[in-house]
Symmetry: C2
Subunit: 404 residues, 2 copies
């Protein structure tokens, strides 16, 4: 695989859903941009004489060989992005899958197991708030009633968005027959940090996904006039919020973990009014559950204490909690041997591969180096040369798993 | 004036624009609620055989006597509220003006100067972002072109909003002929702090309005993935913002001044993304200009230093600056003598009275005790008894100024 050959396919997808004013992507699930990506996928799959199907949860599949016989090796990722995200997070795994298949055919490989390429729906959860929605529905890791009640920020339900996009939402839910076809799953993904840069490696293999969770922090105080209320008489929830932001950062550094407050909403949000309420969202992740629990406990305890000092209250609600995902050790060792000993690293990010791994399907991930280390933002990058190396690595893995 | 008589008129205005879920008010300039308040005013003025007119800037006037002869004594305030504000800030001055006029007539007073009641438009600046808009237009304290370009959060221009409400926006701008009629202006207002509570007085008189200003703080960092970006690699503008919030509070306490960050906007504002930018707004006020300058300088310097530490940038832009307003000493002393020596106090809040005082018109303010000290929030209060005392005080002042 030459960098030029990678670039040629990549550039055909690149413009879809890109905001020209920022170079960030707005590829929300079931939006026009997402539908254009899906159409692009169908065209590319049909050009390769693959069999294309959409499952009952809106995930797209393309098959080389008949998957009904089971024990298929599946690869792929997702098209959808976070708001103003990068172009690689998700789509790189799908483009690489198509090109890896081209490699196998160029080599004259004759797989003895079916090979599938999947594009999962709504992985980021940017539109309906629930990450890995398509894979969770497929595996039954989320309640269908909860999914049916999801609405986006404009009040459009998932059910309506699917129907408007021409996908029947009537069958939403676990799909054990289709899941049963998957004998192994390998997801290629752009790295979302700088570990491979520091290790001077183009490709790495995942060991585990850190346990992580999201908490909503509701700070309540007393709305009041900013000009006339004496400082001593205030109960300003913005102060407690600010303290929580700095505390989360400090505690995460102390614990060698990650903690972020990247979202906030203020009421009434007026320049000349002391806030009545502030809501913040905490994202926290660590290498093991005990470290994560201690981290969140410390942030909570210190913020509670500060709220007492500020005359405010803080209520902390877990919105999601994901335990550690250990990828299949046998599959990982086999891939490491095939690829000649690339770096093995854990990641703080959730992925559809983690959802599939939780069902017991042997699952693995490949990472492609990201020179900026930035992800979920327009500066996310991978060089064409590293992407071509990623395609070759994925092709080798597929060949090893299906041709011997 | 009995508390019951005050309450009877007050209750007829009270439901307009009140949000039943919070008891807060949503009386934005030129909204349906604002128009209902204006209609209420016209009805009450006509019931009292006053002459009603709307000026070229949308301010409402009601006259007892012919104002064309000049040297009128004008009283009044505004109807519009901050988002989820209290019901007294503004409307109390208008209701009290109508009832003070009733008092004068009950006393058989025969004013030798015309008496006017004014309801200024858009005092809070909640809809179009510019406080005291109606009085500033009247006195020429704001550029007409700037006002013509103002739009609300939904993109509706002031010009469009006025036209939709049936007011001609064609004549917006200075109105020296109408302003020339005003020989003195007295605004009654609910107190927006607890000074009168501590002094056990129902009514106070203003000495000055503190110098104050608003600054927009633009924090820029690097948007990135919350789960995978190492803490040491981050350039998180939320940290610098949080530091600025806490620093503004600390420095204001040290300076015996007021500083507030009550408004923030985050991009992309997603739970799993480190923010790319945070914008905060600083409201700062102090008893004198030198203290205010030092306060804002200290907040700016410390935040700059922290930005260097965080790998972020901070840009601070003054959005408005108001110098100190000293109310007319002669008028204030005359009012204090008339009322038998009530407390005299400075305020941190801007008012239409401040705009009129800046033109050289003798101007004064009366404050009515607020038991909660809360303002710009639903808990804002004044007892019917204190409001009745306010009406009596205002009636005495008007009688003193017009009947001797």
């Amino acid at each position: 695989m030459t960098p030029e050959r990678f670039a040629s396919l990549w550039r055909s997808l690149e413009p879809i859903g890109r905001d020209p004013s920022t170079d960030g992507y707005l590829r929300y699930a079931w939006s026009e941009a997402d539908l254009a990506c899906r159409e692009w996928f169908v065209e590319e799959a049909l050009d390769r004489s693959l069999t294309v199907e959409t499952d009952r949860n809106g995930n797209l599949w393309a098959w080389w060989g008949d998957p009904v016989h089971g024990d298929a090796v599946v690869t792929g990722s997702h098209f959808d992005s976070v708001p103003q995200g990068g172009g690689y997070d998700g789509p790189l795994g799908i483009v690489s899958a198509l090109l890896a298949l081209d490699e196998l055919r160029d080599h004259g490989s004759a797989p003895t197991r079916p090979i599938g390429i999947v594009a999962f729906a709504e992985e980021e959860g940017s539109r309906f708030g629930l990450a890995c929605l398509g894979s969770r529905l497929l595996t039954g890791a989320v309640e269908v009633d909860r999914v049916r009640s999801l609405v986006d920020r404009d009040g459009v339900s998932l059910v309506r968005a699917m129907a408007d996009a021409g996908s029947d939402p009537g069958g939403l839910g676990p799909d054990p027959e289709r899941l049963g076809r998957v004998g192994a799953f390998v997801e290629l993904h752009v790295e979302q940090g700088r570990a491979l840069v520091d290790l001077a490696a183009a490709v790495g293999v995942a060991s585990a996904i850190w346990p992580h969770g999201r908490w909503r922090l509701d700070f309540r105080g007393e709305g009041n006039h900013a000009g006339t209320t004496r400082m001593a008489d205030r109960r300003d929830p913005m102060l407690t919020f600010a303290y929580a932001v700095l505390t989360a950062n400090e505690e995460a550094r102390l614990a060698s973990a990650h903690a972020t407050v990247g979202r906030a909403e203020v009421t009434p949000n007026a320049t000349n009014a002391i806030a009545a309420t502030v809501t913040g969202w905490l994202d926290a992740r660590a290498a093991d559950q005990s470290t994560l629990d201690k981290l969140v406990g410390a942030i909570s305890a210190r913020t509670e204490e500060r709220a007492g000092h500020d005359g405010t209250t803080i209520a902390m609600t877990a919105e999601s909690a994901s335990p550690i995902t250990q990828f299949d050790a046998g599959l990982r060792d086999r891939i490491v041997a095939t690829l000649g000993g690339p770096p093995v690293l854990a990641t703080g990010a959730g992925h559809d591969a983690g959802v599939l791994a939780a069902t017991g399907i042997p699952t693995a991930m490949l990472f492609v180096r990201n020179p900026t280390g930035v992800s979920h933002a327009p500066a996310e990058r991978a060089t064409d040369a590293d992407c071509a190396a990623g395609v070759e690595a994925l092709a080798s893995v597929l060949e090893d798993l299906t041709c011997r």
